[in-house]
Amino acid sequence: MSATVTPYEDGPLLLRGDFEIVTPDGDRIEQEGATVALCRCGKSRRKPFCDGTHKLVGFTAPADREKPLS
């Protein structure tokens, strides 16, 4: 199954399917489960993974493409 990235409203990006997370040097970053949540609020202390901190900092983002400023 190809990889998909799904933004969840006010939350992380969920990554599913066949993928690898690697450092710029190509070293593998180990993941726990088949599906992972990637931080997109910038405040996680487990980056690149989500640790739920977005809920403490009032992070908001849509589950779709953000609309450009009008």
């Binding site: 969840y8 409203e9 006010d10 939350g11 992380p12 969920l14 993941q31 726990e32 489960g33 088949a34 599906t35 992972v36 949540a37 202390r45 487990r46 993974f49 989500c50 640790d51 739920g52 901190t53 809920k55 403490l56 589950a63």
Partner: protein
């Protein structure tokens, strides 16, 4: 597991009956619990009635699982518990299916239980941390099992969402990654017995409540919405506290094997909470709009049970006494 010690008239009658053939006489109804959520006799009676559906009690005839007398008594106790939980959480405000995921997030964010995670991270001593693990062992050693009962009751996207969560809970099919196995490792590291049900006699009714509530929701198809809501609330209030628990255990000298259960849950539950709220509860609400109220009820009931348990622990520790029914060997 071994049959537990009775905690009152009804659980005494059930323990006695379970030692005999199915069909042995049992009380027809449960009555007299002032607060069913914390009543020792009622909570143990429910645990006795549910466990034959899981792994059973040593030496107890397996046909007790579907014994009509035990089912009748269980139904009576469940009626008291469900009424008490609905009264404690109040009628859920009307919610549209498209709003369920957001409302669950608001409910979880508004949860204002005592700061158990903070205390375990910075203040608890080893005795208190071991007690905390003993309380949690009642559920964590069968982690995810009550929710597996919901699988055949769901279809389409909600079912796929629950499978995605459960597969992860069960370690993707690898025994050493199963969350219940990881919890056993934590118990072993703390010199506690990781055998399923080893501490049933140690924990109070308020601890049994959390597990019984999931069994009640899981074994009754009518309450499938509540089960999914409870799972979402559980996952949505998990990743941050698990950071605290892991840090607390490291502070007390726990090594990587000891803290692995908590460390895994920080990242895993950050995934699960999105799937549970949006893909499971949100899509279930769209599929079956009549379940919206029960999804919110299940979430509120789960949070209420967690709050009661955390309050009990913090109150006992503040008073300088054990939170268990009997002290642990060191």
């Amino acid at each position: 597991m071994k049959l537990p010690e009775p905690r009152g008239e009804i659980s005494d009658a059930v323990v006695d009956a379970l030692r005999h053939e199915p069909g042995a006489p049992l009380p027809a109804t449960f009555s007299g619990a002032a607060d069913p959520c914390t009543d020792e006799d009622l909570q143990l009676t429910l645990m006795l009635a549910y466990e034959p559906h899981y792994r059973g009690f040593d030496g107890v005839d397996e046909n007790w699982e579907w014994d009509l007398g035990l089912l009748r008594l269980r139904t009576s106790a469940e009626r008291h518990l469900e009424e008490a939980l609905r009264a404690a959480t109040g009628p859920p405000a009307p919610v549209e299916p498209g709003e369920v995921a957001r409302r669950l997030a608001e409910l979880a964010a508004a949860d204002d239980g005592p700061a158990l995670g903070q205390h375990l991270q910075t203040g608890a001593d080893l005795t208190q941390f071991r007690e905390f693990v003993v309380h949690r062992s009642i559920y964590h050693l069968k982690e995810a099992d009550p929710h597996s009962f919901a699988l055949p009751r769901l279809s389409g996207r909600p079912k796929a969402a629950l499978v995605e969560i459960q597969a992860d809970e069960y370690g993707g099919g690898r025994t050493e990654r199963m969350h219940a196995e990881l919890f056993g490792q934590t118990m072993t590291a703390l010199n506690l017995d990781p055998a399923y049900g080893a501490y049933l006699d140690f924990v109070p009714g308020v601890t049994l409540l959390a597990a019984n509530l999931m069994s009640m929701f899981g074994l009754r198809r009518r309450l499938r919405g509540a089960l999914c809501g409870q799972l979402a609330a559980f996952e949505m209030t998990s990743s941050l506290p698990n950071t605290h628990y892991g840090n607390g255990l490291r502070r007390l000298g726990g090594d990587a094997d000891a803290t692995r259960f908590y460390d895994v849950h920080v990242e895993a539950d950050a995934v699960h909470e999105q799937i549970a709220a949006v893909d499971l509860c949100g899509s279930l609400a769209t599929q079956e709009p009549g379940l919206c109220g029960d999804i919110m009820f299940g979430a509120a009931a789960g949070l209420y049970a967690d709050r009661l348990a955390a309050t009990h622990l913090m109150r006992c520790w503040t008073d300088g006494r054990t939170s268990l029914r009997r002290e642990l060997d060191s």
